[in-house]
């Protein structure tokens, strides 16, 4: 009874003093604004930029027959040029044109054209050039070999792929791209939250140690109660913040289907028809987000938070000041950062072996499994396995941390190394 009281007292103190703080209120408000900004701004910029800054590509056509057809197909992209290659290179460097293409006379035999670009700018328009020129060269070669125009049209006809996602409820429009990005966003959020709240736990432990508060508290409660009280209390702060954000996110995704399109359509109504990909003016629509995604997000956030915050608490207990923590932190921050490096590969193929294996490694699961759950339908056994592995790891990190913490909080004066921490674990009975 008294034990529970003490841990509750610690949890409520940690929670209330932090939730009341300015830092919490500010980060709770600014967090979603920041997220909305990073999600919406590229979309808006892309939508607006279609108007004026789409790539202009000059074409120097030595065959004299291809360029007119290219302009016919993409009048907004290509323009005919009679300048010399030397002059055009200068124009590219000075930014007068975005790029130019040189089509040599022997293109029909050698099948080679050259594009000159200032570098960067995406592969999309190179592909466009390739497609255009290929089509025209193929046409000419077929004609030269005596094929009928009808046959040529048959050969040239394009097939459009309409991507449809199959679910148990039936078929629906595929939002693969959106879910990939959203998976990345949620995975990244978990990364940031684990880092931020793990850091808060660490600084809280250091603060109590540096200001010698720990000795007072320790004469009232057991080290395990103090450490777990702090982890739970600060975790509750994180949970509060995330719940506020999810509520806002659900409200926004609801609003976006009704309010956002009106706003965006007003501002982008001067765009040429069909310039934007969807009704809302964004490069993609916002599809409904299943409630299971939010549950997984919350669960893996808490799981990751507990696994890592225990380790952060152990580090905090070992050092005398925050500056000394940097060296000890590396083994903890590395597994936090690694999943981010793999994220593009994983979201490119969320059902591949790499994705499956990485998402089952408990130190990576919180970020990668969350991203996968958003991006694809993860088989149940994989989720169950990662949950079990995470729980076992959680037990392990808390066991380790509580041993280090007990010794660390009363240890002053020397800057410990990782092997000292391991020694303490062996020391603590």
């Amino acid at each position: 009874m008294k034990k529970t009281n003490k841990i509750w007292t610690i949890i409520s103190f940690e929670y209330i003093t932090r939730v009341k703080s300015k830092g919490f209120i500010i980060s709770t408000i600014l967090g979603p604004l920041f997220l909305i900004t990073i999600i919406l701004v590229p979309g808006i910029v892309a939508a607006l930029s279609m108007n004026d800054t789409s790539k202009k590509i000059a074409v120097v056509d030595d065959t004299k027959i291809i360029v007119d057809r290219m302009i016919e197909i993409s009048p907004k992209t290509f323009e005919k040029s009679n300048k010399s290659i030397k002059e055009l290179k200068k124009d590219v460097l000075e930014g007068k044109i975005d790029a130019f293409v040189h089509i040599p006379v022997d293109v029909f035999e050698k099948l080679n054209v050259t594009a000159y670009t200032p570098g960067g700018g995406g592969l999309a328009y190179l592909e466009k050039i390739e497609n255009n020129v290929t089509q025209l060269v193929r046409e000419k070669r077929l004609l030269d070999n005596g094929f009928d125009e009808k046959v040529i049209q048959l050969v040239q006809s394009q097939v459009n792929v309409n991507s449809i996602k199959v679910t148990e409820k039936g078929t629906q429009k595929d939002y693969t791209e959106f879910y990939s990005i959203f998976g990345y966003v949620l995975g990244f959020m978990i990364y940031m939250l684990m880092f931020a709240y793990g850091g808060i736990v660490m600084r809280g432990v250091i603060n109590e140690k540096v200001n010698r508060i720990i000795e007072v508290i320790n004469s009232s409660a057991r080290p395990m109660q103090i450490m777990m009280g702090k982890i739970f209390g600060i975790g509750a702060v994180g949970l509060t913040q995330v719940l506020v954000w999810i509520t806002v996110a659900i409200a926004i995704s609801f609003a976006s289907s009704s309010i956002l399109p009106m706003i965006l359509n007003n501002s982008t109504s001067n765009l040429p028809a069909g310039a934007s990909g969807s009704v809302s003016g964004l490069p993609f629509d916002i599809p409904p987000i299943p409630i299971g995604v939010w549950v997984a997000f919350l669960f893996f956030f808490l799981m990751g938070y507990f696994i890592y915050s225990a380790l952060f608490a152990a580090i905090g207990s070992a050092v005398d000041q925050e500056e000394d923590a940097a060296q000890l932190q590396t083994p903890v921050t590395m597994p936090l950062i690694i999943p981010l490096l793999f994220m593009p590969a994983i979201l490119g193929n969320p059902d591949g072996n790499l994705a499956i294996i990485l998402s089952l490694i408990p130190f990576f699961s919180p970020i990668i499994m969350t991203a996968r759950i958003v991006a694809t339908s993860v088989p149940f056994w994989q989720i169950a396995t990662s949950v079990i592995l995470c729980l076992l790891t959680l037990y392990g990190t808390i066991w380790f941390a509580s041993k280090v913490y007990r010794v660390g909080i009363l240890m002053y004066g020397k800057k410990p190394k990782l092997k000292d921490l391991i020694k303490w674990v062996k020391l603590a009975k």
């Binding site: 008294k2 034990k3 009281n5 003490k6 007292t9 610690i10 103190f13 003093t17 603060n207 109590e208 200001n211 010698r212 508060i213 720990i214 000795e215 007072v216 508290i217 320790n218 004469s219 009232s220 409660a221 057991r222 109660q225 009363l410």
Partner: protein, 310 residues
């Protein structure tokens, strides 16, 4: 009645033996002085009593029960190194520390206000610790250690950071607590306060018990062998006394450690032959001198021991 029993506790940190087989009892309603030079093992001993760390060997019991998390509520502890949350309001920390000792929020709030009032710190409730001076923070810390009204209190250097007025205030509070029947362990280097306040003492050095018992008895047993003589005239009589016995001397005053009572009479005769005596008094040595005497002897001894090993 014994409130605290410490039975042969030992604690090592690596190869360093911080506390080596120490036993003692503390009786109810007494002020018990825990003395020893820096690094003697006082803090480690206190940490074992307060259950902050567990002894490697031996045991601590309070009111007959073995020390554990619940017994911690019976203790009020003021650590030597003060610890308060700098950015938290005075009243919030006091409530928190009170609740950690088993009070509910209302009780903690009332007791906090009571003690702030008593210590002359009323009106500070909503200040943050970082706004307070060292002495002010000290009062808050003291209040935090006893607001749950424990029967047993441990104060480690409670006077540090206080001016003479606040020291006097604190002494009165300690005596008041004693009169209420509380038991207090006082650990301090201020021997003057120990002589004034303590009934019993335990002195440790290098992790071991040096002596313990009733302070008055102990001082008596240590010998009423201190001669203070004040005179005017010739001080040549001092040359007849072995040098190691003269603790201090000037042109008209000397402090001499006597071998026995007879020696005092010899000195009196020699002195009165050559000079006029204005004061001749045989006194108990001060605790300060005893302390220095014992520690120096022990350290000399142990250094000698180490040299022998080398």
């Amino acid at each position: 009645m014994t409130i605290l029993t410490v039975e042969s506790i030992s604690k090592s940190f690596g190869s360093f033996k911080a506390v080596n087989n120490i036993s003692f009892d503390v009786n109810e309603g007494k002020i018990f002085g825990l003395l020893g030079p820096n690094g003697a093992g006082k803090t480690t001993t206190i940490r074992m009593i307060t259950n902050i760390i567990s002894p490697d060997e031996g045991s601590v019991s309070i009111l007959g029960n073995k020390m554990d998390s619940n017994q911690q509520n019976l203790i009020g502890y003021l650590p030597e190194e003060r610890g308060l949350y700098k950015k938290t309001k005075v009243i919030e920390q006091l409530e928190y520390f009170g609740r950690l000792k088993g009070l509910n929020k209302k009780e903690a709030n009332e007791k906090a206000k009571y003690w702030l009032h008593k210590l002359g710190a009323y009106g500070w409730e909503n200040k943050k610790i970082q706004e307070l001076s060292k002495g002010m923070a000290q009062k808050v810390q003291f209040a935090s250690s006893i607001l749950h009204n424990p029967p047993f209190m441990i104060f480690d250097e409670p006077f540090s950071g206080f001016d003479p007025i606040n020291t006097e205030l604190l002494i009165n509070v300690l005596l008041e607590l004693k009169n209420e029947g509380k038991t207090i362990i006082l650990s301090t280097h201020q021997m003057y306060q120990v002589e004034k306040l303590c009934d019993e003492i335990l002195m440790i050095n290098q992790g071991k018990k040096v002596l313990s018992g009733n302070l008055r008895e102990f001082k008596r047993n240590y010998g009423t062998n201190h001669l203070v003589i004040e005179f005017s005239g010739d001080k040549s009589f001092l040359q007849n006394i072995p040098k190691e016995q003269i603790l201090d001397y000037s042109d008209n005053r000397a402090e001499i450690k006597l071998k026995n009572f007879e020696q005092s009479q010899e000195i009196l005769k020699m002195a009165s032959a050559v000079s006029q005596i204005s004061k001749f008094e045989i006194v108990e040595p001060s605790l300060n001198e005893i302390f220095i005497d014992i520690v120096e002897k022990m350290n000399l001894h142990s250094n000698g021991g180490e040299n022998e090993k080398n």
